[in-house]
Subunit: 198 residues, 2 copies
């Protein structure tokens, strides 16, 4: 079941490099694209970076609205993620869009009202932090997370809990060409002591 | 066996969000740190971003030398990755360093001569692209990949090939607290058609 995640734990949702679905909306238009290239940049306040190519329809909507969302798809959504990633929202004649074309169930984000995909396992709404130079040179967009939610069947008490009995909900990681690696086993590194990274 | 990877394929090594080990060296000093937060930002020329906290010894060495390397550890190195990530190079009295302390086998990168970890499954040497604002505000460092190599037992012909028979070489993805998700199954998303992302 979808549950709120404390903002202090929000970046753990994307700490391990899952492929995400980027949602955006402006002036009655909306879009969703796949992005393999995202990462957290700060835990507190929770901030993320995501690469949004200049050619994308999503980039238009994000810069016009000042917001985007990252939805984290699971194993059961690998097909949808590939389809969404291989069609541009610009190619679909209004009033249709990718949500209509692909029959995507969605709900409104709690803070920004962005369209979020049902069936994902994590959701982050972000306010865009405009950085013209990074956007121009590296297509890198920064955002501050203002709402976080996760499916408590696989993320509970601020932690991912990927187990054999919830394998359909494990995150997917794009290897290229529509192939995704799925998180299988979870291993514990032996930590000598707590301390600074570096 | 370690083999060169064409620069056009270099970013595929980190496309799926593995945790990496960042190597740096300057003036006879050297260091290695763990970083869960990295991503490609461009395929051609191959460029990456990685988050390097202001407190780290690595940041000193990278900004002094103008270079860093990303090594991609595998399942068999989860313990080493956690240990390296929980000790600062600054805490170890010269002439010792983390390579000595943890008995890390290494070899020299082919272009920049950076110390690269043996036993990893991918290696990227990068020239630092100085971006003071991103570094200051988001701890985000950009770099251009100038050499790429991979273990051909798990990455061949420009593609990851993670299978049951090479499970020890699969990449690891930090979930937090020293726990790593390991890529298990690989699934093929059904792609409707080739086309633009977005």
């Amino acid at each position: 079941m979808r549950q709120p995640v404390a903002l202090a734990h929000a970046c753990r949702l994307v700490n391990h490099g899952p492929t995400v679905l980027v949602c955006s909306a402006h002036g009655g238009r909306r879009n969703v694209m796949a992005a393999a290239w995202s990462m957290p940049v700060e835990f507190t306040p929770p901030r993320v970076a995501v690469v949004i190519d200049k050619s994308t329809y999503s980039r238009e909507l994000i810069t016009a609205s000042g917001a985007f969302a990252l939805c984290i798809p699971c194993r059961d959504q690998a097909g949808l993620t590939a389809r969404v990633g291989h069609t541009s929202g610009r190619e679909i004649a209004a009033p249709d869009d990718k949500f209509v074309r692909f029959g995507i169930e969605h709900f409104a984000g709690p803070v920004l009202g962005l369209p979020l995909l049902a069936g994902c396992v994590g959701w982050l709404e972000c306010r865009w932090l405009s950085e013209p130079r990074s956007e121009q040179l590296y297509d890198t967009f920064f955002g501050e997370v203002v709402s976080a939610q996760a499916d408590d069947a696989v993320f509970a008490q601020g932690r991912w809990s990927m187990r054999e009995d919830n394998a359909a909900l494990h995150t997917i990681h794009h290897l290229g060409g529509g192939q995704f690696g799925v998180i299988g086993e979870v291993v514990q590194g032996q930590i000598a002591a707590d301390g600074a990274n570096g």
